[in-house]
Amino acid sequence: MKRLLGVALGILTAIGGFVDIGDLVTNAVVGSRFGMSLAWVVLVGVVGICLFANMSGRVAAVSGRATFEVIRERLGPRAGLANLGASFLINVMTVTAEIGGIALALQLASGVAYILWVPFALLAVWLVVWRVKFSIMENVTGLVGLSLVVFAVALFLLKPDWGALAGQAFSPSVPAQEGAGVYWYYAIALFGAAMTPYEVFFFSSGAVEERWKIKDLAQSRLNVLLGFPLGGLLSIAIAGCAAVVLLPAGISVTSLSQVALPVAQAGGQLALAVLILGVVAATFGAALETTLSSGYTLAQFFGWSWGKFRRPAQAARFHVSMIVVLLAGVAVLATGVDPILVTEYSVVFSAIALPLTYLPILIVANDPQYMGKHVNNRAVNIAGVIYLFVILVASLAAIPLMIATGAGA
């Protein structure tokens, strides 16, 4: 019974932890402009993140090495540093976006300008990073974040024409009022939002934090293989709500307050309250994950002592670097830049940095010195190489498409 509870808890946490401000905003924007015609990208992204999160978790559990240690060791200092620079920049952008997301959600709840909520959000995130146990942090934010299921409920309450939605999803085409370039630009953004590299850094470091052993692998596989796809369904429901209410009304999403409109229309103030709770939890959880990830990547590259299982004094450089990252994120927000804009750029830059992260994982997962008999099997390798190719194409196409479409305008 207790074991079953543990399994359920893990899966629920994975669902609630899947969606972050990037998924939320990108899916709503895409839904309001392209309907369901990009839903397939979410599917592709979810399969990819399952594949590589699982792989990095297995490497961490079997060898005790987290992803960025592996990246440094295999790519060497030069390519490793290039990767660190890119990943760290994206992490800081994502931290900025998530803290902005917390503040925007609190504005939605209170009507008080988001910028006034930013210091509060910063302090709360730091306190949790500083003091709260890893497992408690993960489970609480994951479970509360599960209230984003309200998007799926709202979609049902809206009584959409399911046939039309499915038609858009299963025979995707570029809508008449949008160009093909913009369509593919948002395809890459959605892909980047689903496969953000920080999730892999966090997942593998989390495996070390929670001292996974080989026997825990079955549980983690279940969490990933059930939790992430269900989280992906939530993402599609976000796009669905936008596609049903906002697209026909001629509204294209530029702010979080617009994302809430369909939910309020479907479920009234109660649904709205649940939505705000879910958004706060999801962005808060993701702010924690990205802050920790920036500490993990730095510490693992330079070989510092890291981890929340240690006292802060035993991982001084790790904690100092996270404080610096949080302050940098807040400094960016203090310039008055729109957090939604930061989010949109962060997911595209994520897509660009993906190959550097996923290639070393794939290679080490095949190295018997690390993995013993737990090396990748053939099916996983074939899928991994196919994904690496897709990731590479997306990464190379991202910048030209960004310039050609004026970042999707």
């Binding site: 060898s63 005790g64 003091r131 070989g303 510092w304 929340k308 802060p312 004094a313 001084a316 690390y370």
Partner: protein, 139 residues
């Protein structure tokens, strides 16, 4: 580099296999994590110091092979990436005799706090982290 003419040895002999552990430096040592005796990460292997040979000097036949004297860390990482060479006074050396094992990590037989390689960690601990309330509590 590839424009220059290259010759290729005609045949490869089977290599003599030494009795003990064989390590290829780049493959098995460089850029690996070092853990202290308690399993606390210390730093990474940024470079390796050898006992010889003297650069640019003819090696007499029968000279005993050089040995690894120390693992190096610190500013040497920057010079491996960007070129050049740090002054030897700035190198942080971890003598080979404190190395206890080499696997996917390099384990040391001493405590991190006793080593030069962790002075930044100690400085930040004493001057920043220890001054924030809760810094030395169990999480």
């Amino acid at each position: 580099m590839s424009e220059r003419k290259r010759v290729q040895p005609r045949q490869l002999h089977a290599a003599p296999s030494p009795a003990g552990l064989v390590l290829d430096a780049q493959l098995h040592l460089l850029d690996r994590q070092m853990l202290d005796v308690d399993g606390v990460p210390v730093t990474t292997v940024d470079d390796i110091e050898l006992s010889g040979p003297e650069p640019n000097e003819e090696i007499p036949e029968g000279t005993a092979p050089p040995q690894i004297t120390a693992l190096l860390t610190g500013p040497v990482l920057g010079t491996r990436i960007f070129g050049g060479r740090p002054p030897s006074s700035r190198l942080i050396r971890i003598p080979w005799k404190v190395v206890a094992g080499v696997d996917t990590v390099v384990t040391l037989g001493v405590r991190a706090d006793s080593m030069d390689a962790s002075w930044v960690e100690r400085w930040l601990r004493n001057h920043v982290i220890a001054r924030i309330p809760g810094g030395s509590h169990e999480p």
